[in-house]
Every structure is written in C-alpha cells, then in structure tokens.
C-alpha cells in the first residue's frame, strides 16, 4: 500500500466520517451528518475530504466503506427478502428445523418455507445420504410458485467438504433463475444452527445488498473516481463489491472493528489497550497482533444468534459530560449532559458540574475557561480526579491479558479526563486524527482468507493438517485480492473433539494480507 491513495468512509447512525490517506500519511479527515440517502451521504463525504486535501478524484486508488446500513435493515425489519431454506441433512438434525430459535416477528417476515432433503456429511466426510436432487427440484418449484427469490443452502459438515452445497446451488439456480443463493460454507463456522441462521440472514439481505452496492456505484459515477471500491467486513478486512453483493451479512458489524483497527494504525501499536472516552461512556478494547480481541460467544443480530465474532469491548458510564454530584457521597455519572456539554458544563459558562470541569480545575485539561471552575473545592477536585482514574484503571486491569503494564491508546473527546498517568499503562499514546479512527481503519483495511476443517490426526500429523488449512486460507485471501507476499497468519484455532477415541480436531485458520494495488 506504499503511496496508495485511499479514501476510508465509515457510516454510523449519527455521523459519516471520511479520511484520505496517501500510504500511511493522513491527508485530511471530515465528519458530516449521516443522511437518509446513504449513498448520497457517502458521496458528499468523499467530495468534502477530497476538497479538503485538494486531491483530484482521478488520483484515488481505492475507496473503502464501512456501513451499518444492512444491520439497521435487520434491526428495523425492513427491505428483507423472504428466504427458502434448504438443509442437506438426510434424517439427521430434524428435531431442530431452520429458524427454530428466531424471534417470531422476524421469522414471520423472512421464512419462505424450509425443505430438509437427503444429503449432508458426517464429520469424516462420508455422506449421511446421497444428494436428493428430486427433492431439491420439488422444493424449488414450491418456492417459485410462491414468489420466493432467495435461498439459503446449508449442509451438515459443509466445512469438511463443500461440494454438496455447490451442487445443490447449481440445481437451485436451474430451477429458480436469478434467485439469490447463499451457501453456508462461505458464511460461518462449525455449529449448524448458528451457521444456518447467518446464511438465512445473508440470503434475506442479498436483494437490499445489491441495491446498496448499485446505489454506491451510481453515486460514485458522479464523483469522477476511476478506482474500485470495497466494503469492510465484520472482521475489519475488505471485500469487493461483487463479494459484498453475495455476502452482505458479513458487512453488518464492521463499525467497532474499524475503530479498533484505526487505533492500531494511528498509534503504530499492535498489542495495546484502546480506551475511547466519549461524552457519555468509556469503551475499552484490546488489540492483539493488530486486530481487536473478540468475544467468545457468537453475535446476536436483530435477535438471531449467529456465529460471528465481535470485538470484546467493555463499556461503562464515564465520559467528558458525566454529571458530578456532591450532595451526599461523591458520584460521577452515569448520566451525562452529552452533546450539550458546550452549553451546560461550568467551564463553558453553564450550570452543571461535569467530569470535564473537574479535569479543567485539576489542571489536566485545557478546555473552556479555567476561571469559571476556580471556585471548586480542592479536596473535591482531588477526590473526583482520583475516582475517575481508578474507575478507568480498574476496567483496564480486567481487560488486560496479564498483570504486566501494557501500552494504552487513549482517544476520544473525553480522554482529557485521564491525564498523563494511568495505573497499568506502560505508556499512553494519544494519536492525531483519532476522531476519524473508524474511517481511517476502513481506509487501511487489509484482505483476509479463512479456512475451517475437521480432520483426523490418525495417520497424519498435526503440523501437516495446520499447514494445509493455512495454505487454503492463503489461496482464498489471494482470490479476494491480497498480495501473496504480504500475507501473514492472523489466527489459528484448534479444538479437539472430546469424549471420543482418536485425535479428531477442528482447525480454523485465518490469514491477512495487503490489498494489491
């Protein structure tokens, strides 16, 4: 990416951020209000950031977009397609039909009828039953009669061997020309119900996903850009627009990941805590090898349990606008004056004592007018300052991987509260441009490849099995646009299958590399 000119855009619920980078240099950042017309809002942000740096649109090599548009579609239950669910399972799994654990309202909206047919695999790759082609055609005819245009296909142990899903997809494509088809082996991990849930969500989003990509293309046409554009995935890596149109569900939780990736880039740290103190809350997350540490359990999206991993971020109610109360025991937050801080805080001439006023009185923050907080009692200021530091340090300690002090990336409008020292921090870095870390995280996003397999180690070695998985993950990363030489291993997971003789393990490998120019 040396010298590549990139624009990163992050569309949040309130603001749309854009950042322009040349190589690793941030040339400009802008923040505009998110508009109802998402594509139009993105185009306006791109235009503004290019204008700010006097950059000609033709010189941009790539535009990377992170958006919560499709998450909102699921949460608000709008523009979702009805989905036919095809499960390749033989007689297995029938006690738990598709969508069994969905919220009723969402199921009623999306469920286009399910069909459980012959097919599917055992853990060792042997078929549970041969593929029931006749049954698949019959299901498709039923769906066609009822106007279903999206199909989710999920085979038992698809990640052991994907060929049955691929063959079933070919039959569905013949019977339902033009249908949006979503295959589980490209979406999720081991655990049929969660993977199937994610695959059904994906199928239901394919129509609106295509519309979104089309709207982005149309909006960009007017900008004079000659470059490709990409969307960021839940794991903080990029996908092409063609890929995004096929796997829209992989975009829906990319926001927090982009912020953490931006923090890693701006600070130059790959293993650190990121403490983001805003107006109302403090969010603390951990960077491990440059990527956010994820939560153990799968993400719940619009009430549906999936197997996507989200960053492990701990939030609590301390921010620059937190209200400080001194009647009785000293209390700070969790309520906040929020965005009204410039009207309500004492140091800005308001009437409310806030956390920011304490920091100004203590001399650790230089905002507003210090004269307006001079009357505050020294003992109160001392007690409140130490209370805030202790609160942040306590959560930091819970999040840290070990008792050793670690570097801290301190960001956000409320980060003035903490000062220059923090228990548990080996150093504190306050990078520039942090207000746009989400957009910068999108701009510098890399390309990933993943591969998951269940293998028996009898008659083979663990090393060879891992190597084969990593090689497949690399192949997928190169397919997705990565420069082969830049690819590194991001994650390897090895889960033994317990309670059985024989060394059978599930191996999941993930690699990342830089986007080819």
């Amino acid at each position: 990416m040396t010298g590549m000119v990139r624009v990163g855009v992050d569309v949040g619920g309130t603001n749309t951020d854009a950042a322009l980078l040349r190589g690793s240099e941030v040339l400009a950042t802008v923040k505009v209000a998110t508009s109802a017309d998402v594509a139009g809002g993105i185009a306006a942000a791109i235009r503004a950031v290019l204008a700010a740096a006097r950059m000609a649109p033709r010189r941009v090599d790539g535009v990377m977009i992170g958006t919560t548009h499709l998450l909102n579609a699921v949460v608000e239950r709008r523009d979702l397609s009805r989905v036919g669910s095809l499960r390749l399972c033989g007689r297995a799994t029938r006690a738990l039909p598709p969508m069994i654990d969905w919220p009723d309202d969402l199921r009623r909206r999306i469920d286009g009828g399910s069909s459980l047919v012959g097919g599917g695999l055992n853990y060792d790759g042997s078929p549970i039953a041969s593929l029931d082609r006749t049954g698949i055609r019959a299901a498709c005819r039923d769906w066609r009669a009822r106007g279903i245009e999206a199909v989710a296909i999920c085979s038992v142990f698809a990640m052991v061997d994907a060929r049955m899903e691929i063959e079933a997809a070919a039959i569905v494509a013949e019977e339902l020309p033009g249908a949006a088809i979503s295959l589980s082996h490209r979406i999720g991990r081991n655990g049929l119900l969660r993977r199937e849930n994610a695959t059904i969500l994906n199928a239901s989003l394919m129509h609106i996903g295509r519309q979104m990509v089309g709207a982005f293309r149309a909006a960009f046409d007017g900008l004079g850009l000659g470059c490709p554009f990409y969307l960021t995935q839940n794991d903080g890596t990029l996908m092409s627009t063609d890929f995004a149109a096929r796997f829209p569900v992989l975009t829906i939780a990319s926001g927090p990941t982009n912020s953490m990736r931006g923090a890693a880039f701006l600070s130059g740290l790959s293993d650190a805590a990121v403490i983001d103190i805003g107006g109302t809350t403090t969010d603390i997350g951990m960077l491990v090898a440059g990527f956010p540490r994820s939560r153990g359990e799968g993400a719940v999206i619009g009430g549906v349990t999936t197997n996507f991993r989200l960053p492990d971020v701990h939030s609590f109610g301390l921010g620059g606008g937190s209200v400080v109360r001194t009647d009785g025991a000293l209390r700070i937050g969790p309520d906040s004056v929020g965005y009204r801080i410039r009207d309500e805080a004492l140091c800005f001439g308001g009437q409310t004592l806030t956390a920011t006023d304490i920091a100004v009185a203590a001399g650790i923050a230089a905002v507003g007018d210090p004269a307006l907080v001079r009357q505050l009692d020294d003992a109160l200021v001392g007690a409140a300052t130490s209370r805030m530091r202790v609160a942040v340090a306590a959560v930091l300690d819970r999040m840290k991987p070990s008792a050793d002090p670690i570097p801290v990336v301190l960001v956000g409008g409320g980060s003035v509260l903490v000062g220059e020292r923090l228990a548990g921090a080996s150093q504190i870095v306050r990078p520039e441009h942090f207000g746009s870390a989400n957009a910068i995280g999108a701009a510098v996003a890399q390309v990933s490849g993943e591969c998951e397999r269940v293998v028996s180690l009898e008659g083979g070695t663990r090393g060879a099995a891992i190597e084969a998985s990593v090689a497949e993950a690399k192949r997928r990363a190169v397919d997705a646009g990565a420069v082969e030489a830049s690819i590194t291993l991001a994650e390897i997971e090895e889960t033994p299958l317990s309670y059985l003789p024989g060394n059978v393990v599930r191996i999941a490998a993930k690699v990342v590399g830089d986007l080819a120019a």
Binding site: R91, V156, M399, Y499
Partner: protein, 371 residues
C-alpha cells in the same frame, strides 16, 4: 403421586442450571432445550416425578446422549433417537418402561430424557446418576451401587440400533458403547438396563432437576433485579465462592478422547493477588491455590461468567475471560467409600485422598410440584 408439569420458562431455567452443574463439560443444553420447548408447543407434556413417589417395581430407564459435543452441534438430533432406545429395550426385555431418568444432570443430558418422555407420554424422574457431569458411563451412582451392565441399547438418528446383551463390567460397557458411537458418526443415544423404582429412590441423586431449575431461576432473577448472579448461585446452592478473576492461561490437549488441561484464573478486586489452578479432563476436576488443593472431584467446580452467571464450558475457556469459580458440595451418595472408588480423585489418577468441601445437602423439590 405429585407431578410437576413443565412449561417453557421451566425448560429455560433447567437448561441454564444444568449448564452450571456441568462443571465445564457435559455439552451445552441449549439445543436440547429448543427441542423440548418445540414439543411443548406441539401440545406434548413433560412431567417430572419425585424419586420417592415411584412405584417400587416401576421400570426406569436411564437415557443419555453420547459422543463429541463438537459433532452434536453440527449433525444435530433427529428427535426420535431416545424413543428408538426405549422401544428396543422394551422389545428386548419384554417389559414396558414406566419412566425415564438422566444419567447426568450436568450439561446437555439433562434434556435428553425429557424429549423421549414427551413423545412417549411417560414421566421423567427428578433425579440423576451424577448430580453433575462426568466423562464416562460407569461413573454413575447407579453403577457404584451395583447396577447391572447389561442389557444396554445404543441407537442413532438413522435407525441403527445396537443391543449389548452382555458386558462383563461397566467399564467394558463404556468401551463397547464408545466403539458403537464412533461407528455411528460420533453422536448417539444409549440406555442402560432398566432399574426398579425402589433402586432409583435409594441410589439416584434426588431432585437434581429441581436443583438445576432453582439455580437457573436464581440467576435469571438476579439479572432481572440487577443483583449479582454469582452471589445468588452461592446462596441458592449452599456452595462457596472460591475466586472472582480472569482467565490468565489455558493449556489444553487431547489425549485418548479427553480434553486434558489446566486453567489459571488470577483474582481481581477482593481476590487480587490470589491465583487458582484448575485441572480439566473434559470437566473441572481439581482446584488449588498457593496453599494446596481446595476442591476436588466429586465436589463440583463450576465456572461462570462473573457478570452474567452464564456457565462457561471447557472448550470455550480462553485467555481474558472474566469468571467466578464456585464450589458446590457433591451429594452424599457420591461421597461414600464405594463412590469415591469411581469418581474420587484417585479414580482420575491423583495420588491424594478425597477431602470434602462444605456439607452435602439434599436439593428440595421445585415449587412446581405444589404444596
């Protein structure tokens, strides 16, 4: 005879409590609870009966799932596996089965008898053979007290049924069932020889489904009332909080079908400076701190999310998780000389004798039975 007819919220509570009693193993009861609730919505009934209310000559079958949880969440249940086991046992013995019972209340097998019982419209005994989870078939209070090792039935989702007409020991039965399970694709269901109502009333760990319900109820109530679920678990179970902290190291390896390993939890807040080390063999076996062994099998070492009380399985443990470690005393049936030979520390290869934590007590029947 009093019955407790379960509703959907009862199933959720039992599933949550069964996860806690799984002591890290036993598989996740979530999928089984979905099946049980779907059966209730179809109009089927799930009725529990107290062991003391069983007729002395009632025929009670212990029914369990067997295999790898990683396979079980992918090639999920067909739904009639348990039914197939019961029918085959009835055919072989020529006698009707009157009630089902769980071998292990800890984990997914708390749900297994309920699903078959709903389809057969027979009751489930509010009791089990472990009061927790253990890795092997013969580690039940049933086998400790002379339960015969045959006949036994193993069945899968497709209709394959294996009847073990003779096994020379419970250990041999375990080996035969494992071998059959591998042939069936690593998940199957089994039932051991029918037991009499009198035997179950005497040797099953009583009211363990009630105990699971009450643990689940207390955690949900604490969450709803913004109270501390961990404190609620301790209060409801007569257990002891060993430590609150974060997982600072997980070592795991698979040998002979067991996940063996060691978990290190560093104390936080009030427990700062203390460290617990927990040995794992599918389940949590032994917990020690700098002063030596604190808790050992068969007493329960339960690890839950420090904030939500959600049970955390061995396979899910990882660096940085914030957990609470709670010790629960095992039922007196597991603490006898005979039981310790099967489920005490020496049975798991340790060279020290059992030292109990807290006092065994008997779980009360849930309020669902009425006054």
């Amino acid at each position: 005879m009093k019955f407790w007819t379960l509703d959907e919220p009862d199933i959720d509570r039992i599933a949550l409590g069964a996860g806690i009693l799984g002591t890290g193993g036993g598989g996740n009861p979530y999928l089984g609870s979905l099946v049980a609730k779907a059966l209730l919505r179809e109009g089927r009934r799930i009725c529990l009966v107290r062991p003391s209310d069983l007729a002395a000559d009632a025929q009670v079958l212990a029914l369990s799932g067997i295999g790898a949880p990683t396979v079980g969440v992918e090639r999920m249940a067909e739904g009639d596996e348990g039914l197939r086991v019961v029918r085959a046992m009835e055919d072989y013995t020529g006698r009707r089965i009157d009630a089902l019972i769980a071998d292990e209340v800890g984990g997914s097998n708390a749900m297994t008898p309920m699903i078959a019982a709903a389809k057969l419209d027979i009751p489930v005994v509010d009791a089990d053979g472990m009061g927790r989870a253990f890795p092997e078939v013969q580690m039940t209070t049933f086998f400790v007290h002379g339960h015969v090792s045959h006949p036994a039935v193993l069945a899968d989702f497709e209709g394959n049924v294996m009847v073990v007409t003779a096994a020379t020991s419970p250990q041999m039965l375990e080996r035969l069932l494992r071998a059959g399970t591998v042939a069936m694709g690593c998940t199957a269901y089994f039932g051991t020889a029918p037991m009499s109502g009198a035997f179950v009333a005497r040797y099953a760990v009583p009211h363990s489904l009630s105990q699971a319900w009450s643990l689940g109820q207390t955690v949900l109530a604490a969450r709803a009332g913004k109270a501390d679920p961990v404190a609620a678990i301790v209060a409801a179970s007569g257990g002891a909080l060993l430590l609150r902290g974060k997982v600072s190291d997980v070592q795991r390896s698979v040998t002979g079908g067991f996940v063996r390993g060691r978990l290190t939890v560093d104390g936080l807040d009030e427990d700062a400076g203390r460290t617990l080390r927990i040995d794992i063999q599918n389940e949590n076996l032994v917990a020690r701190d700098a002063g030596g062994v604190l808790v050992m099998v068969p007493d329960l070492i339960c690890i839950v999310d420090a904030e939500t009380g959600r049970p955390i399985g061995t396979e899910e443990q990882r660096y940085g998780l914030r957990v609470a470690v709670v010790a629960l005393p095992a039922h007196a049936l597991l603490r006898s000389e005979a039981a310790l030979g099967s489920v005490g520390p020496r049975a798991f290869g340790y060279d020290f004798d059992y030292a109990p934590v807290g006092f065994s007590s008997e779980a009360l029947p849930a309020p669902g039975y009425g006054a």
